[in-house]
């Protein structure tokens, strides 16, 4: 009896023992699922909040980045400004939502790279504003506020 149980235990895959496979799976999720995954347990949280996963998410739609600006040169800039996870949550997410709402629209002429560039610009302005209450009482507000508003009915 115990030998059967032991055999069963050996054949069952316990995902937490295979962090690399888990990482590969997480890399393919969307933002919302990633956030959910981060609530599962400490290991999942550590993996799901790592910036490399979010970098993958942000750059996923870019089939081939222009050779002049490969992803590797973007990484230090994004890290300095707050990281890919923050970039996704503040900018990329909203951009993608709006795009999905209008799939055939005229802005479809832009590439995913252009979209990322726009997100980066907005992200940089946000970073600048956060740098240090230089705007007195307006430090609480943000130039990215317009992204978070609900759509007009």
């Amino acid at each position: 009896m115990t030998r059967d149980k032991e055999e069963k235990r050996r054949s069952v895959l316990f995902i937490n023992d295979h962090a690399d496979i888990l990482l590969e799976i997480l890399k393919r999720l969307d933002g919302r699922s990633l956030c959910t995954a981060a609530c599962v347990c400490r290991l999942w949280r550590a993996l799901a909040t790592a910036d490399s996963v979010w970098e993958h998410l942000c750059l996923r739609r870019i089939v081939s980045p222009p050779p002049s600006s490969p992803g590797s040169s973007v990484r230090p800039v994004v890290s300095a400004l707050g990281g890919y996870r923050r970039l996704y949550m503040l900018c990329v997410r909203h951009l993608l939502t709006r795009l999905d709402r209008d799939p055939g629209g005229r802005w479809r002429t832009s590439s995913a790279w252009d979209e990322l560039q726009l997100s980066l610009s907005l992200f940089c302005v946000d970073y600048y504003e956060r740098l240090g209450g230089r705007f007195g009482d307006t430090a609480a507000t943000s130039s990215l506020m317009f992204l978070c508003k609900p759509v007009n009915v």
């Binding site: 222009p66 002049s68 600006s69 040169s73 973007v74 230090p76 800039v77 300095a80 400004l81 909203h94 951009l95 709006r98 795009l99 209008d102 629209g105 005229r106 802005w107 002429t109 832009s110 252009d114 979209e115 560039q117 726009l118 980066l120 610009s121 907005l122 992200f123 940089c124 302005v125 970073y127 600048y128 504003e129 740098l131 240090g132 230089r134 705007f135 007195g136 009482d137 307006t138 507000t141 943000s142 130039s143 506020m145 317009f146 992204l147 508003k149 609900p150 759509v151 007009n152």
Partner: protein
């Protein structure tokens, strides 16, 4: 009857009736109909019954009326309408009547299939008001407010009525101010204020009208408005930046043009004519950091008003920008130039190095130089040209607020700011940010309406005029590329309202609300060849050699 009997809510003022009661109504007389003022209400009643009869009549009768029309006696409007009515009610179909549309030919077209609103019927363009008033004896003739719809069914809501009346009253008041008739203008302002109570001042025409009424009353009283301290202006500007796309569009488009102009250069210098909080520059720094071949050395010279309380705000902004540049590994140097007016800036203060690529950036600043003679704009443009910049980015409001006639300026401003307020309403519902953004616009409105001469700095001019000026000053246009257009379109899409549009026109981009362009962005480069002749103002003292 005459349009003078009062029905204005809340005012105790009686406007004296037109003395001659048998006076022909001037407005309809202008269109060829002789109708006594005292008969106007009868005409309106009959027209209303005519229209309701037409609506309920079988269609073959009505179509006859519309197509076979002969107007036999235009002088006798009342009996003509009577005859029309009797035709319809008897269902005869021999028409001997004019088409119904000619009855309101002097008025706005009745596109609604409902009984005619009296205010529309007697809506008056400003020159018709002139005409009517010149007929009356000059002393104490009040402006003719629209006749009260007492005897008629008012189909439009009370608000739409009041809104239309308010716009008419505003125009009349502005016209009175232009003619110098301040006493009557003041009386009209009181009436308009009373009228405001009956409409919604939270949005739409009520809100804009409120600001314009306020500005007019300041002008009449002669109080002007207290200019806001620069610190406050910057806060309002910041809120305006956050709640609407105009400034973001300006910044991003200018940045894209500057980025493209700086390709291949290792030392670049940007001169910003109004630094404010420096919100434009982080994005450029980041874009330069990511450009192929690595970032250049970036120098930024920011011009701004001197800070009153001894803090060096320019330097603080510079430090913040330097921090951003340090984070993304861009070599950066900042210099602040404190000047309360742009014309006080001299080129030597900017310390331009002949080996670097220079960009001059002006977001809604150059129009302040269009003041009364001698206008500083020519000399400023010539010293800019003398610096030999690679690119000059210009963003200005696309409207003409620099006309000499007050009424024209007022009218343009009313329509322009109505559109801007509409767009702001749609783009942002978050208070108090929206209120602060509106205060920023209110400052502009006050400046346009209340001031004259050197104090009036908001002298917006449309792109066509700027093109002429720049061409004369030795610049030629630099087309904003498709990248700028794509970026602007994407940016607009992020604002969760339909209604904004970007259009490209001869290499310039214009952002508009529902196809009314509101703000225009363009770029210029120094045209090759000899520099334009020096102006006789000592401007040649300020030129750098190439």
């Amino acid at each position: 009857m005459g349009p003078s009997s009062t029905s204005h809510a809340g005012t105790g003022k009686l406007i004296p009736p037109f003395p001659p009661q048998t006076q022909l109504d001037g407005l309809l007389a202008g269109a060829g109909y002789k109708v006594r003022s005292s008969d106007l209400h009868l005409v309106a009643q009959r027209l209303e019954s005519l229209e309701s009869a037409m609506v309920s009549s079988p269609s073959h009768v009505v179509s006859h009326l519309a197509s076979d029309t002969v107007h036999y006696n235009p002088a006798d409007l009342v009996s003509w309408v009577d005859s029309l009515l009797s035709e319809l009610t008897h269902s005869h179909h021999h028409p001997s009547n004019p088409s119904s549309s000619s009855s309101s030919s002097s008025t706005s077209p009745p596109s609604r299939p409902l009984p005619v609103d009296l205010d529309d019927l007697f809506s008056v363009p400003s020159d018709a008001i002139n005409w009517v008033q010149s007929e009356m004896p000059l002393s104490q003739q009040p402006p003719p407010p629209p006749p009260p719809p007492q005897q008629l069914t008012v189909v439009t809501t009370m608000e739409e009525d009041s809104g239309i009346r308010l716009v008419h009253a505003l125009m009349t008041c502005a016209e009175l101010v232009q003619r110098g008739d301040l006493h009557l203008a003041g009386a009209l302002v009181d009436e308009m204020t009373a009228l405001l109570t009956s409409i919604n001042t939270e949005c739409g025409i009520g809100k804009v009208a409120g600001y314009f009424i306020d500005a007019l009353s300041r002008r009449i009283v002669g109080a002007g408005s207290v200019p806001a301290p620069p610190h406050e202006t910057e806060i309002l500007y910041h809120h305006f930046y956050e709640t609407s796309p105009y400034l973001k569009f300006a910044h991003f488009t200018a940045n894209q043009a500057i980025l493209e102009a700086f390709e291949g250069y290792d030392c670049v210098h940007v001169i910003d004519f109004s630094l404010m909080h420096g919100l434009q520059w982080p994005a450029l720094i980041q874009a330069l950091a990511l450009r192929p071949g690595g970032p250049p050395l970036l120098r930024l010279t920011g011009i701004g008003p001197p800070s009153p309380d001894g803090r060096d705000t320019l330097r603080e902004i510079g430090l913040g920008l330097a921090e951003v540049a340090r984070s993304v590994n861009v070599r950066f140097a900042f210099r602040g130039v404190a000047a309360s007016r742009l014309e006080d800036v001299k080129p030597w203060m900017l310390q331009v190095n002949p080996n670097e690529a220079l960009a001059v950036n002006s977001i809604m600043q150059l129009h302040k130089l269009l003041g009364p003679d001698p206008t500083p704009i020519e000399s400023v443009l010539s010293w800019i040209r003398g610096l030999n910049p690679k690119i000059v980015t210009l963003v200005e409001q696309e409207v003409n607020h620099n006309q000499t006639g007050f009424l024209d300026r007022f009218t343009e401003a009313l329509y322009y700011y109505s559109t801007v307020f509409d767009s702001l309403e749609a783009a942002c519902q978050i208070q108090p940010d929206k209120a602060l953004a509106e205060m920023y616009l209110q400052m502009e409105i006050c400046n346009i309406v209340c001031y004259e001469g050197a104090a009036r700095v908001e002298r917006h001019e449309p792109l066509a005029k700027w093109r002429d000026r720049f061409n004369r000053a030795g610049f030629r246009p630099l087309h904003l590329g498709s990248n700028a257009f794509k970026q602007a379109s994407m940016l607009l899409m992020l604002f969760s309202t339909e209604g904004y549009s970007v259009e490209e026109n001869e290499g310039c981009l214009r952002l508009g609300w529902h196809s009314r362009p509101l703000i225009a962005a363009s770029a210029w480069q120094a045209s090759p060849g000899p520099l334009p002749l020096p102006l006789p103002m000592g401007a040649d003292d300020y030129w750098n050699d190439d």
